[in-house]
């Protein structure tokens, strides 16, 4: 355990947090990710989190790399090593360094350092950057390579790994690689010559992270969608979702030309707003395309009415909600899991939607393709609920796995099918008793294929109807369909400790912190069984799990304990044993906070 390792005197190996405090728009991202990649290349589990302001240039921004030999990827609340490049945040940032921690800072900083319990390394940033043989315009930009080299030296990061990282970053462009590497290298050497290591933090190569890759959730979601056969994307830019469609724009042309004709098998449209992007997507879904959009809270708000239409007219489509902090514009560059209740019930009248909740970046890929199968099978919207933490941060994650099931296009009748049925069909007839009707698609040339989709009351043949019984029967079928979904959506991941009476439930990006908290609580002698939700609605496993415990803590990153509420509504008989462990301040949950809060609850 890391706590034991932090004993005085001993080296702290592969178990700490490095934070880079810089100014946004200053190009530090390249430097930070270079370090991240180099560490990953050395076989050390890492995660990288960017805490950035909602502007483009000139404000404080922080990048934290967690180095964890045990593979914990959640957020740490304090820093062990701070590389502070920003005078504006210097004073505040200093306070976050753990005692015994380390501060790197440019040697021209005038600020007093009011901590005597940390180790400090001044860096000759200006001088080394000036030495570099680059155009003055780029000088500031690659000044950041100074701290890369210094850190490499002081921590023991291989310069070969740094080089590999730069090579990847600059896609093999030798000139860029060289000019960056040279600076890093000269800083490395300067440190070797001038600095004495006084701190205890070191990195050591571990066995290679085979089977793991490094990426972010939005890229993973985009790629998963591509392997899910996405055909139509409509989107409107919004942080933190934009990089998902942008990844689609990048990768679709590479992977999705028609093998025979070389033409595109997809279309991506940047809409004028989210009212339009959702409309386009639902149109395409109705047309028989695998259609998707990606947005965040404000955009989701604007999709409310169309979501209700899709629910009632039974149109398949996929909506990614890369959640950020609301209500309202809120904190656009901070993370939360606070649209859960909203997405679940999005629309007026009685609605219930299907939510898929990836719990890792590789699951973003998996649910990227699965969401289409579910949407088309169930003829309804599927919301993939991820967040900024997954979507925009760098994670080591398991390799993407090729889909283990063929595309499921659901119940579609083409000309030949109608021929076979003698044209006897009705758009909303429950033929199979599973509450899922058949649909035809525009372009079907059988004269009996057409129907008029509508958000107004309709009968089994999609004809306009205001008949009370018709209305109610249809709405009741939709409930039955939703119940069928329970057995089709990804079930929970359950980890049992045996006959323990306490349990934890969580989901999505809160999983890493909960996993860590659980392991540490266990080490402290408190065992918890564990369930990670992967979808709403819930299957019986969830019910049975709750039923078999006395107290179930539902841990999530929002204010109101929204998943806890959804569980309460689903299982009123057990509502009394569910305890909400929820908070949101824009940052991912930390294991420390979870442990603290659960212990406080237990003490009650």
């Amino acid at each position: 355990m890391s706590s034991t390792q932090k004993e005085a005197g001993k080296d702290i190996v592969n178990d700490f947090c490095i934070t880079f405090a810089t100014v946004n728009g200053s190009g530090s991202q390249t430097a930070n990710i270079t370090i991240l990649r180099a560490l990953f290349k050395m076989g050390i589990p890492i995660s990288g989190k960017n805490k950035f302001p909602s502007n483009i240039q000139g404000l404080p921004t922080w990048y934290s790399i967690r180095v964890s030999k045990d593979g914990y990827l959640g957020r740490l609340e304090e820093d062990d090593i701070l590389i502070c490049m920003n005078p504006a945040s210097f004073e505040k940032d200093l306070a976050f360094i753990n005692p015994g921690g380390v501060l790197f800072y440019p040697d021209d900083f005038k600020h007093p350092i009011n901590r005597d319990d940390i180790i400090t390394y001044p860096m000759p940033v200006k001088a080394l950057a000036k030495e570099a043989d680059v155009s003055p315009a780029l000088r500031d930009y690659i000044a950041n390579m100074v701290y890369v080299g210094m850190l490499a030296k002081m921590l023991g990061i291989d310069m070969t790994a740094i080089l590999e990282a730069l090579d990847f970053q600059f896609k093999g462009k030798q000139k860029a690689i060289d000019s960056n590497y040279i600076v890093a290298k000269s800083a490395y050497e300067w440190a070797a010559a001038n600095l004495e290591k006084k701190d205890r933090y070191v990195v050591k190569r571990m066995k290679p992270l085979d089977g793991y890759i490094m990426t972010d959730g939005n890229t993973a979601g985009a790629l998963g969608s591509i392997f899910g056969g996405v055909q139509f994307v409509a989107w409107y830019p919004i942080t933190p979702a934009s990089t998902l469609p942008e990844a689609l724009i990048e990768y679709l042309p590479q992977f999705r030309k028609d093998p025979e004709t070389g033409k595109n098998t997809y279309a991506v449209v940047q809409a004028e707003d989210e009212l339009a992007s959702i409309g386009m997507v639902i149109g395409a879904g109705f047309g028989g395309l695998r259609a998707m959009t990606a947005t965040s809270g404000p955009g989701l708000s604007l999709m409310t009415e169309y979501a209700g239409l899709a629910y009632y007219a039974e149109v398949p489509s996929v909506i990614w909600d890369v959640q950020r902090v609301g209500p309202s514009t809120g904190l656009p560059t901070r993370t939360a899991q606070s649209d859960m209740m909203m997405a679940y019930t999005l629309g007026h009248g009685d609605t219930q939607h299907i939510l898929l909740i990836p719990g890792s970046v590789t699951e973003c890929f998996e649910f990227g393709w699965k969401s289409f199968d579910l949407a088309e099978r169930l003829q309804t919207l599927v919301f993939v609920m991820t967040d900024l933490d997954f979507g925009m941060n760098q994670w080591m994650t398991k390799n993407f796995e090729y889909p283990d099931q063929p595309l499921d296009r659901g119940k579609i009748l083409w000309e030949a099918d109608l021929e076979r049925l003698d044209g006897v069909w009705g758009r909303y007839v429950d033929v199979d008793g599973d509450a899922i009707p058949y649909r035809t698609l525009p372009g079907n040339l059988d004269p009996r294929s057409a129907y008029m989709a509508r958000g107004t009351g309709h009968d089994n043949h999609a004809q306009y109807s205001e008949d009370p019984e018709v209305w109610e029967a249809n709405m009741d079928r939709l409930i039955r369909k939703y119940n069928i979904a329970r057995s089709l959506v990804p079930g929970p991941i359950i980890e049992q400790e045996g006959s323990v009476k306490w349990a934890l439930i969580t989901y999505g990006s809160s999983d890493p912190a909960v996993q860590e908290a659980r392991a540490k609580l266990k080490a402290d002698g408190k065992k918890f069984n564990y369930l990670r939700l992967r979808a709403v609605p819930f299957c019986d496993d969830v019910k049975n799990f709750i039923a078999s415990h006395d107290t179930v803590y539902v841990v999530e990153n929002n204010r109101d304990g929204q998943m806890n509420q959804i569980l309460q509504m689903a299982y009123p008989q057990f509502a009394g044993k569910l305890v909400s462990i929820a908070h949101n301040d824009g940052l991912p949950l930390s294991a420390k906070w979870i442990m603290r809060t659960i212990m406080a609850q237990e003490a009650k």
């Binding site: 990649r37 890759i213 490094m214 790629l223 392997f227 056969g229 055909q231 139509f232 409509a234 992977f255 999705r256 028609d258 093998p259 004709t261 595109n264 098998t265 997809y266 279309a267 449209v269 004028e272 009212l275 339009a276 992007s277 959702i278 409309g279 386009m280 149109g283 395409a284 879904g285 109705f286 047309g287 395309l289 695998r290 259609a291 009415e305 169309y306 239409l309 007219a313 393709w369 993407f400 796995e401 090729y402 063929p406 595309l407 296009r409 035809t440 698609l441 525009p442 372009g443 079907n444 040339l445 059988d446 004269p447 294929s449 057409a450 129907y451 008029m452 989709a453 509508r454 958000g455």
Partner: protein, 340 residues
């Protein structure tokens, strides 16, 4: 439409369910002309797809072309729905039916952006200056000073849908009048041949809420004030062209993307519908003088449509097979290798 097996249709193949709109509603006569236009063109009804928003006008797609698919969407947001659907099979002809409230009030944004994208479809506004279905409130095309029961007097200048379309670079803009069925029909035929957005703003009186004497959207006003720019006839590509039938210099022809011809027979002055500039001006004049200028206001037949820009295969996207949609496992291995 090129691949159609030539079938002989009867008019009934293009009919819809009985209308539930008011007797005499302008929207009903537009429905009839859509039926006639499609029948006369011999379009396969399965090759048409209908879209609408919400309103009396938006109900009407139920009352024509029962053999065509359709989607009766949300108020003001049919454009996005249509755009998405039409990507599914770009060989389909889209017909959107909207109201003035649907297009010019709540739908302004989506309408303008659909036009700007030059989405290939026919977009008909059944314009009565009023909200019919919600019982007679002002729409954005109601004239300033119009008095309606329960609403008082309208304080705003009207939105001119044709002008809006022009400014958004529409490639086909027409105005017509439900009381002029022949013109409506020929315009719809021409619009169906246009490869791009074809906006037809049709004054379509609401006999229940806005047909009072002097109202700019009433039958009477239209009958008094309609000033057609030309007599329009549409000649499909398969028909033999007999321009000689027309007196020298008395007509103007426009060749459509699919080879069909639009013949504009001069009335008083010669009007050049390929000059956006003149079109804006004729509309400004109409506004100033309280005329209802009708006809093909503007056309630019050779601009690539939105769909043209996407380099899509001929095979409709919605008929693609799984192997066309999911890359092979090998590709995923490459992807994994790239992720670092």
């Amino acid at each position: 439409m090129e691949q159609n097996i030539p079938i002989e249709y009867v008019k009934g193949d293009f009919r819809g369910l009985p209308s539930t709109l008011c007797q005499g509603c302008g929207h009903n006569s537009i429905s009839s002309q859509i039926i006639s236009a499609c029948f006369e063109l011999g379009i396969q009804p399965e090759k048409v797809i209908k879209f609408s928003g919400i309103g009396c006008s938006s109900k009407s797609p139920t009352y024509f072309l029962s053999r065509s698919f359709g989607f009766n969407g949300l108020h003001g947001r049919m454009p996005s729905l249509a755009l998405g659907t039409l990507f599914a099979d770009t060989s389909l002809k889209g017909i959107g039916i909207s109201g003035d409230g649907d297009t010019a009030s709540i739908g302004m944004g989506q309408f303008k952006h659909l036009v700007r994208r030059n989405m290939p479809m026919v977009y008909i506004v059944e314009n009565n200056g009023v909200y019919g279905l919600t019982k007679g409130q002002f729409s954005a095309t109601a004239e300033k000073g119009l008095m309606l029961k329960k609403q008082g007097s309208n304080p705003y200048l009207p939105v001119d849908i044709a002008m809006e379309a022009l400014v958004s670079n529409a490639t086909f803009v027409a105005r017509s009048f439900a009381g002029d069925p022949k013109q409506v029909k020929e315009l719809i035929k021409a619009a169906l041949s246009h490869n791009g957005i074809a906006v037809i703003d049709i004054i379509s009186p609401c006999v229940t809420f806005n047909n009072q004497e002097g109202s700019l959207h009433s039958y009477n006003w239209g009958k008094d004030r309609e000033a057609p720019l030309h007599e329009i006839s549409f000649i499909p590509p398969r028909d033999e062209i007999m321009v000689e039938d027309f007196e020298e210099g008395s007509v103007r022809e426009v060749t459509m993307h699919d080879g069909s011809l639009v013949i504009l027979k001069k009335l008083e002055n010669d009007y050049d519908p390929t000059d956006r500039w003149q079109a804006l001006r004729i509309l400004e004049d109409a506004q100033r003088n309280n005329w209802m200028t009708t006809g093909l206001l503007y056309i630019k037949p050779d601009i690539p449509s939105l769909v043209d820009m996407y380099d899509l295969p001929e095979q409709p996207l919605n008929r693609m097979k799984p192997n066309q949609l999911r890359p092979e496992e090998r590709v995923l291995n490459e992807v994994n290798a790239m992720m670092f």
